[in-house]
Amino acid sequence: MGRLLEVNNLQTQFFTQDGVVQAVNDISFYLDEGETLGIVGESGSGKSVGVMSLIRLIPIPPGKIVGGEVIFDGQNLVKMTDNEIRSVRGNRIGMIFQDPMTSLNPVLTIGRQIMEALELHMGMDKTQSRKRTVELLEKVGISGAADQVDRYPHQFSGGMRQRVMIAMGLSCNPQLLIADEPTTALDVTIQAQIVELVQKLQEDLGMAVIWITHDLGVVAGIADRIIVMYAGQTMEEAPVRELFAKSRHPYTHGLIASLPRLDQRSGKLESIEGLPPDLVDLPKGCPFYARCKYRIPKCDKQRPKLDEISPGHYVACHIDINKDSITTEHPWEEDKE
């Protein structure tokens, strides 16, 4: 498998009245062809902004990519002109967004919206693009596709709209599909349909997928590797099994322990006390310092680097939670005093 995407030291900031929001703070990762990468984080962790920066979909101003490079198939996307990036976006990199209702244009038929990309990128004429659109809708499991192309988004249910979005994302046979919380707005039974659909399409078409989510459960079943983000930085990166079995970062560890599980009767949930830091005023040291049970004085002064602790497993933490003991039982309360 060849290397498809390489992101090096990407930094994205938003310049607002309240100060500079450091949304993405020096992240690096790679993606091989046909691979599925899960990016997990809470709201404000920079997972969406990070990936939107790859395809330059962040609003400028107030946003700006202040540093780093994104090498996609040998080309640096950050350095491209607007016209050049337009020929990549939607063509070689497809996207599915979180909320299908707000990402579809309500006054255009769904057929028109899918055909637009085909005519623009593939140079098809109306008849060709319409034929291809019907094929795509059939592929994503919309029955009676030939009649459905002329309908408007409001005539579809949430799950069906998300299928339309997927058809749109796949329209130009992308090498990479970016799925930004595609199932968050959907019910679990519909989520299962969509997850299965994307996996099947990935097998058929051999594309790589970046799946962004806040739900560790969803990526556990589909991703090859997972990146855990917090406050715009990568906390931990590991192959999926290793991450769940041997998470090393206190944040990842806490996140997994705080999930109630359907297959086990758990006692009291372990919770991560406190709140994520303000991205305008990030601490000098580790961003997780204030909430960390294992913290040591060094963590407050020096930001830990992302180190490879075993092949493919990277952690940004000064301590080893398997060796070092908990230093503060209730870090949150200590801060209050």
Partner: protein, 339 residues
């Protein structure tokens, strides 16, 4: 904790129906149909337990919660609330009597951003129930508010701040403090954690559990996330398109789901463990939930059911019956099976 509890019924719901009329015309509004958001529900809630109510969006779970609290006037049915003063049918009470009963039944809302008045301080939000019910003088109320903030894990120092100064999890704590102000017996929690981040969800779940132990509260916990519901509930009711299709103890529901919809729902919930996920067999349901304004003939689930029996499921509604002690299901597969 829950297992040894006596089966002391706090709330008995019988044949509860909540229909919303569909009308046509502008001046002469003709009644052309109903959205049957809650259709003929019968269940009990025991004192001190947590009953989880799960289902997908639009299945009527929030409507049920609101109809119990008389935030909607139910179309038909009884909601009997039992306390030291005896049994009272909430659906038949109104005015001052209902207002007094509301001290004992409270609600925690889903969206902590929409359910707190942005122009009121935390202190006035939490003390409002006390003022409305004329409890204590202002000095005592202030003391009580400080105490409540402490109970839900907020610093009483925040009493003069406004909701926008707080994060989602903290706002939900304010909503919980408000619900606790009148020392209620029963709280309807309508998706209290679904608007919160994962690491904050566990904080709020733990808080709700602690409060239940401390004050002997009874919860109706409405949510769409089965993992959360299983964690917090003693018993679970599964709803589909306005009807309860299965009701039993939460461990039993997971170990031995009877209704085909429950099976599909359980299999669709992702488990955060890649080793298990690799081995699981998913039941993928076809299609979408039908419109509650125009439910299918017969069983509501018949259009998507993998175990559909022709000539039976599409003719008449299956009865909701107890097939094993404490395990209720509405499905023809268990017809004639008795406890």
């Amino acid at each position: 904790m829950a297992k040894e509890k006596e089966k002391d019924v706090l709330l008995h719901v019988e044949n509860l129906k909540m229909y919303f009329p569909i009308t046509k015309g502008i001046i002469f509004q003709k009644h052309v149909g109903d959205v049957k958001a809650a259709d003929d529900l019968t269940f009990d809630i025991y004192r001190g337990e947590t009953l989880g109510l799960v289902g997908e969006s639009g299945c009527g779970k929030s409507t049920t919660g609101r109809a119990i609290l008389q935030l909607y006037t139910p179309t038909a049915g009884k909601v009997i609330f039992r306390d030291a003063d005896g049994d009272r049918d909430l659906a038949q009470t109104s005015g001052e009597t209902l207002r007094r009963l509301r001290r004992q039944i409270q609600m925690i809302f889903q969206d902590p951003y929409a359910s707190l008045n942005p122009r009121m301080t935390v202190g006035s939000i939490v003390s409002e129930p006390l003022e409305v019910h004329n409890i204590d003088n202002s000095a005592k109320r202030l003391k009580r508010v400080r105490e409540l903030l402490n109970i839900v894990g907020l610093n009483p120092y925040f009493i003069n701040r406004y909701p926008h100064e707080f994060s989602g999890g903290q706002r939900q704590r304010i909503g919980i403090a408000r619900a606790l102000a009148l020392n209620p017996d029963f709280i309807v929690c309508d998706e209290p954690i679904s608007a919160l981040d994962v690491s904050i969800q566990a904080q709020v779940i733990n808080l709700l559990e602690d409060l239940q132990d401390k004050f002997g509260l009874t919860y109706l916990f409405i949510a769409h996330d089965l993992s959360v519901v299983r964690h917090i509930s003693d018993r679970i009711a599964v709803m589909y398109l306005g009807k309860i299709v299965e009701l039993t103890e939460s461990d039993e529901l997971y170990a031995n789901p009877l209704h085909p919809y429950t099976e599909a729902l359980l299999s669709a919930v992702p488990i955060p463990d890649p080793a298990i996920e690799k081995k699981r067999q998913r039941i993928i349901l076809e299609g979408d939930v039908p419109s509650p304004a125009n439910p299918p003939q017969g069983c509501n689930f018949s259009t998507r059911c993998p175990k559909f029996i022709e000539g039976k499921c599409d003719t008449k509604d299956p009865a909701f019956q107890e097939v094993q002690p404490g395990h209720w299901v509405a499905c023809y597969l268990y017809e004639g099976v008795h406890k």
